[in-house]
Subunit: 256 residues, 2 copies
């Protein structure tokens, strides 16, 4: 038996069906990731490793001209994504989303044959499995798969992102701070203009996440942007800017 | 003819003789670098690529138990370092500083023969030549040498730092944000517990420098610390914490 929940995002603007107690459960990470896509024009967006689809759905919900492809390897999670998209509550944008059951790590003809064509997307977003082996607290196999950090994972995922993205397209991802060098290295010569924003729970505290965007074939330099502070005072309330990003009221735009 | 200046640091606590119009001139970068050394116990400190010696002298001036070796390849700059150390104004700590004319990129026996023994230092600090080729604005050859970023520079310098440092010793450096991945990659398995702090001119602006410390043979994870903001308001005054670091009134301690 699989127990599931229906979770509300963007203050009720859309809903996602997720398995309870197994698989990765989407939350604020997915919403912040989605906030990195800022295009008002018609655009094609791929969400790699989409899980139940929260990040990709957040993009489609906020951007009326976005066509979103949710790419997920796990048949179970892809099913949840399809069910989520089909919810009546999501009818406003559901027709602009499709689900592709495919492995992000495929390459060359196998990738194209699986449905991921070259130079097809304006935006690729990803929230890759980023817990490393030393931090695995979850015996559950599906969750372990979603959270398992393996050597070269960023390289593999970012290589696929580079292949399926149009020149000038934008890569967006959210990750742990300790992955920063792997990510920059994986961007290599495929991407430039890397912009990194660290996310800190409170003033004076270490970062818990980094938000990264980069442009395919750009030669611009890396920038470390001003950090985002989740709680600006001693309360549990989010800072206004973070709350807006989390609830789909604003995009976190690149500086250039 | 070489024109020189005598510059006051730490609000007159020590002075450095520097060439005017040629060579790298030390300033705030060197003071922030020096602030990363926080030991009150007797310790040996190597300043790699010391130039006229500002960073190493700032450490010796602030820490009464530090013995500092200034390592500089350029005979001209090493001369300035020796002259600076010998200034009567620096007599308070001058006997705790020595100057070694040697190339940081030497390896193995050649390095040891040049005066840089294995496992000898508690702290190694460096402000490596970090302007990259696309940003070179200075025709002057000596300055170009001090600012010339070459592929693998961080790897070479950090390898030397790892070799001459005691196990558990601390590496400290200041660099540009775009070097972050090269630095982390160069730390590799030699160093762990990397702590990175970005330095931003004002709230909301991109970082202009990163301060990095790491511990030899540590396995601890990388941390992105809360950033330092140089100017907290619209004035030209430094924020109190930055002013204290710049003027030798405080150390910027590691969090662990």
């Amino acid at each position: 038996m699989t127990t599931e929940t229906i979770d509300s995002f963007h203050r009720g603007q859309f809903h996602v069906i997720q398995p309870l107690g197994q698989g990765h459960r989407s939350g604020m990470d997915a919403m912040l990731l989605a906030s990195l896509v800022a295009s008002d024009k018609p655009c094609r967006v791929a969400d790699l490793g989409a899980g139940a689809g929260a990040a990709g759905m957040a993009v489609a919900s906020r951007l009326a001209n976005a066509q979103v492809l949710l790419v997920e390897r796990s048949p179970l999670m892809a099913d949840f994504a399809r069910k989520s998209v089909a919810l009546p509550e999501n009818a406003r944008f559901g027709t602009r989303i499709s689900v592709l059951e495919a492995d992000v790590s495929l390459t060359g003809r196998a990738r194209v044959a699986a449905g991921l064509a070259d130079d097809a997307f304006d935006h690729v977003i990803m929230n890759p499995p980023f817990n490393d082996a030393s931090d695995r607290k979850t015996p559950d196999a599906l969750k372990a798969e979603a959270h398992a950090m393996t050597d070269g994972l960023f390289d593999t995922w970012i290589r696929t992102a580079g292949a399926i993205m149009k020149p000038g397209g934008q890569l967006s991802l959210i990750a742990r701070p300790e992955s920063i060098a792997d990510i920059i290295s994986a961007c290599g010569r495929r991407f430039g203009g890397i912009e990194i924003t660290s996310l800190h729970p409170r003033t004076g505290e270490n970062a818990v996440r980094i938000l990264v965007t980069a442009i395919k074939q750009s030669r611009a330099r890396l920038a470390l942007r001003a950090p985002l502070i989740m709680h600006e005072d001693d309360t549990h309330k989010f800072a206004a800017v973070v709350d807006d990003l989390n609830n789909g009221r604003a995009a976190y735009r690149r500086r250039r």
